[in-house]
C-alpha cells in the first residue's frame, strides 16, 4: 500500500472510531435506567385470604390488577392494553376488562374477547409465600394465549 493511501485509510479509520465512541457515549448517556422501589420493583400486596375467589383488585401504584380466579388461583394482570397502551379498567357489570381507546375487551384472566388487541393482557410474575402475595413488576410476561400455565395457587392450608 502506498504511504499516502495508508495515511488516508488511517484517518478514515480514526474518524470512524471517534464517531463510534461518541455515539456509544451519547446512547449510554440517554438510555433509560430503572430505579428500585417504584413501578418496576417488588410489591407486597397482602394475604391470600384478603382476596375472595372471583375478585379483581386494582393496585394503582403497581399498575396491575390482582385477579383471583373462580378456582382460587392468582394472576397479576398488567393494566396496559396490548393494542396501543391505554389503561384498561375492570368493568364489574360485564365482568370483563374493556379498553376505552379502541374497544378491545379481555376476560378476567386477560384472554382477548374482542380485538383489535393482538394478544392477552400481560402478566407480572407472582409468588405466594406463607400466605403472602408478592408481585414483581420488573418481570413482565407476554402470552399468545391465556392458559393456566402462569396461574399461582396458594399452598394447601393444613
Amino acid at each position: 500500500m502506498k504511504r499516502r493511501n495508508f495515511l488516508k485509510a488511517s484517518w478514515l479509520g480514526l474518524l470512524a472510531l471517534a464517531g463510534g465512541e461518541s455515539a456509544f457515549i451519547g446512547l449510554k448517556f440517554v438510555s433509560p435506567h430503572v430505579d428500585a422501589g417504584e413501578f418496576g420493583g417488588l410489591f407486597d400486596v397482602g394475604a391470600v385470604d384478603d382476596f375472595p375467589s372471583g375478585s379483581v383488585t386494582p393496585f394503582v401504584n403497581g399498575r396491575f390488577y390482582l385477579v383471583r380466579l373462580n378456582d382460587g388461583g392468582f394472576l397479576a394482570v398488567y393494566r396496559q392494553c396490548t393494542h396501543l397502551g391505554c389503561s384498561v379498567p375492570w368493568n364489574a357489570e360485564q365482568q370483563q376488562f374493556v379498553c376505552p381507546c379502541h374497544g378491545s375487551a379481555f376476560e378476567r384472566d386477560g384472554e382477548v374477547l374482542n380485538p383489535p388487541a393482538p394478544r392477552p393482557l400481560d402478566l407480572f410474575a407472582l409468588t405466594i409465600k406463607d400466605g403472602q402475595i408478592r408481585v414483581d413488576t420488573g418481570k413482565r410476561i407476554e402470552r399468545d394465549h391465556a392458559d393456566d400455565r402462569y396461574v399461582v395457587y396458594p399452598e394447601a392450608t393444613a
Binding site: 440517554v30 433509560p32 413501578f39 418496576g40 397502551g85 389503561s87 379498567p89 379502541h102 380485538p115 393482538p118
Partner: protein, 452 residues
C-alpha cells in the same frame, strides 16, 4: 459619536450603505449580507408572483421564527416535570400576563406549520419543480417535513394534560409493531415502559434543542439549494421560457414582497391567537384513559387506518410505502416537460381531478364496507390477523391501484408523468379523507358518528 455609529453600521454591511439605491449596489448588498445571502441577487420576475409559490416556503420560515421567539419565552415559565408542568400551563393561562396569548401563538404556529409545509410540498409537486436539478432539494424538504412533524409530536406532550399523555402513549405504542427493533426504540424514546417523568425530560430536550437545531441547519441548506438550483419559472401550457425572461433585483422586488406578505401573515396569526385558545384538558392521569382517546389531528389518518388494518400495516407498512414513494418521486424521469406548469397539461388537469374524486369516493366506500359489511378476520378465522387484516386487504388495494394505472395508460392514453400525477392525487385525497373521517366522524368507542 455619530461617527462611531456610522462606523458600526458600516461594519455590519461590510462597507456598503445599508439601503442601496442602484441595481449594482443592491446586488452587491445581497452578496455581502449574511441574511440576504440565502437569496440570489436577481430573480426571474414571474417566479416571485404570489400566485405561483403562494408564499408558502417563506411562510414556513416565518412560522419557524415565530415559534422560536414564543418558544423561548415559554421556556422561562415552564419546568419539564410531571409535578410542575401542568401547573405551569395553568399559571400561564391565569397568572402570567399575556401568557395565554404567547401559548396560543406557539400552539397555532406549530399546527399551522404542518399545514403550510404540506401545502408548500404540494405546490412544488403540482408545478413539477421537483425534478432535475432539484431532486436533492426535494429530499431536504422531506426531511424538513419529518422534522416539523417531530417537533409537533414532542411538543404535544409538554402540557402534561390528558390529551397530551394519551396521544403520546398511543403514538409511541405504534412502534411496538415494528419487527425486532420496535419495542427497544419505543422504550428508548419513553425512557422506560410507560410515559412518565423520563419521557417528559426526553421530549423536552428534543423539542427545545435537538429538533430546532436540525430544522434550522437543514432549512438553511434548503434555501441555499433553491438559490443554487435556480428557481423554477411559471409558464402556460404550450409555451416555452424565452431567453430573455425579465429578471429583477432581489432588493427591492423580492424583499418588499416578502416583507408585506410576512406582515399580513403575522396580523392574521395574531388575530387568530387572540381569539382562539389552545386546548388544555384535565391533568394527565396515567390510570384513566379518556374515551375516545384520539391521536393528534395530523395522525388521524393513520389512526383511521388502524381501525381497518392490522397495526403493523396501518402504522408501519403503509406509511413507509408512502414515504418511499415521496423519496423516489423526483428521481422518476418525467416524459412530459411540465416544469412551471400547474398539473402538466390539459389532460393532466382532468386526470388530477379524476384521481381526487376517485380517492375520496373510493375511501368513503371502503370505510363503510369495512365498518358495516365485511369482517375479514371473522370470515377467515383460521388465518392469523396479520394475513386476514393485513396482507390480503393490502394486496387487494394494490391490485385496485394497478388497475387504475392501466386504465390511465390504456384507456386515457396518459403519459407516465400524467398517470403518476393522477395516482398521487388519488392517494392524497384518500389520506385526507381518512383524516377527516378520523377527526369528525369518530365518537365514543371509535364508532362512526355524525359530527353534528
Amino acid at each position: 459619536m455619530s461617527d462611531f455609529v456610522q462606523r458600526v453600521v458600516e461594519s455590519i454591511s461590510r462597507g456598503e450603505p445599508l439601503t442601496p439605491t442602484d441595481d449594482r449596489s443592491r446586488m452587491r448588498a445581497v452578496m455581502n449580507n449574511l441574511v440576504l445571502h440565502l437569496h440570489p441577487s436577481k430573480v426571474a420576475a414571474p417566479s416571485i408572483k404570489l400566485t405561483y409559490t403562494w408564499g408558502l416556503g417563506g411562510l414556513a420560515v416565518l412560522l419557524s421564527a415565530v415559534l422560536v421567539v414564543t418558544g423561548v419565552m415559554l421556556m422561562f415559565v415552564y419546568t419539564p416535570s410531571p409535578d410542575t408542568a401542568y401547573q405551569n400551563m395553568q399559571n400561564l393561562q391565569t397568572d402570567i400576563r399575556f401568557g395565554q396569548l404567547i401559548r396560543n401563538l406557539h400552539h397555532w404556529s406549530g399546527n399551522a406549520m404542518i399545514v403550510v409545509v404540506v401545502l408548500h410540498m404540494l405546490r412544488v409537486l403540482f408545478t413539477n419543480a421537483l425534478h432535475r436539478p432539484r431532486e436533492f432539494n426535494w429530499l431536504l424538504g422531506l426531511s424538513l417535513l419529518l422534522l416539523t412533524g417531530a417537533a409537533n409530536f414532542t411538543g404535544y406532550l409538554l402540557p402534561w394534560d390528558q390529551r397530551a399523555y394519551w396521544a403520546i402513549t398511543v403514538g409511541v405504542s405504534l412502534l411496538q409493531y415494528v419487527p425486532v427493533v420496535g419495542e427497544g426504540i419505543g422504550r428508548f424514546i419513553l425512557g422506560g415502559p410507560e410515559v412518565d417523568a423520563t419521557t417528559l425530560t426526553n421530549f423536552y430536550g428534543l423539542h427545545v434543542a435537538v429538533i430546532p437545531l436540525m430544522l434550522f441547519g437543514i432549512m438553511s441548506f434548503h434555501l441555499w439549494r433553491t438559490r443554487k438550483d435556480g428557481f423554477s419559472i411559471p409558464r402556460r401550457i404550450g409555451t416555452v421560457i424565452s431567453e430573455k425572461v425579465e429578471r429583477v433585483t432581489t432588493i427591492p422586488h423580492l424583499i418588499s414582497r416578502e416583507a408585506v406578505f410576512a406582515l399580513v401573515m403575522i396580523a392574521i396569526l395574531l388575530t387568530w391567537a387572540a381569539l382562539v385558545d389552545a386546548p388544555l384538558e384535565e391533568a394527565a392521569d396515567p390510570a384513566h384513559s379518556p374515551n375516545p382517546a384520539k391521536a393528534a389531528w395530523y395522525f388521524m389518518g393513520i389512526q383511521e387506518l388502524l381501525l381497518h388494518f392490522h397495526p403493523f400495516f396501518a402504522a408501519i407498512v403503509i406509511p413507509v410505502l408512502g414515504l418511499v414513494g415521496l423519496v423516489v418521486l423526483p428521481y422518476l424521469e418525467p416524459d412530459v416537460d411540465g416544469e412551471g406548469i400547474w398539473f402538466l397539461s390539459v389532460k393532466g388537469r382532468w386526470l388530477a381531478l379524476l384521481g381526487t374524486v376517485m380517492g375520496v369516493a373510493g375511501t368513503v366506500l371502503l370505510v363503510l364496507v369495512d365498518e358495516y359489511v365485511l369482517n375479514l378476520p371473522e370470515l377467515l378465522p383460521s388465518l392469523p390477523t396479520i394475513l386476514s387484516n393485513g396482507w390480503i386487504p393490502l394486496a387487494w388495494l394494490l391490485g385496485l391501484l394497478w388497475l387504475y394505472w392501466e386504465l390511465l395508460r390504456g384507456l386515457f392514453r396518459a403519459y407516465r408523468s400524467e398517470a403518476r400525477l393522477s395516482l398521487f392525487c388519488l392517494l392524497l385525497a384518500s389520506f385526507i379523507t381518512l383524516t377527516v373521517i378520523g377527526i369528525a366522524f369518530r365518537g365514543e368507542g371509535m364508532a362512526l358518528v355524525s359530527p353534528l
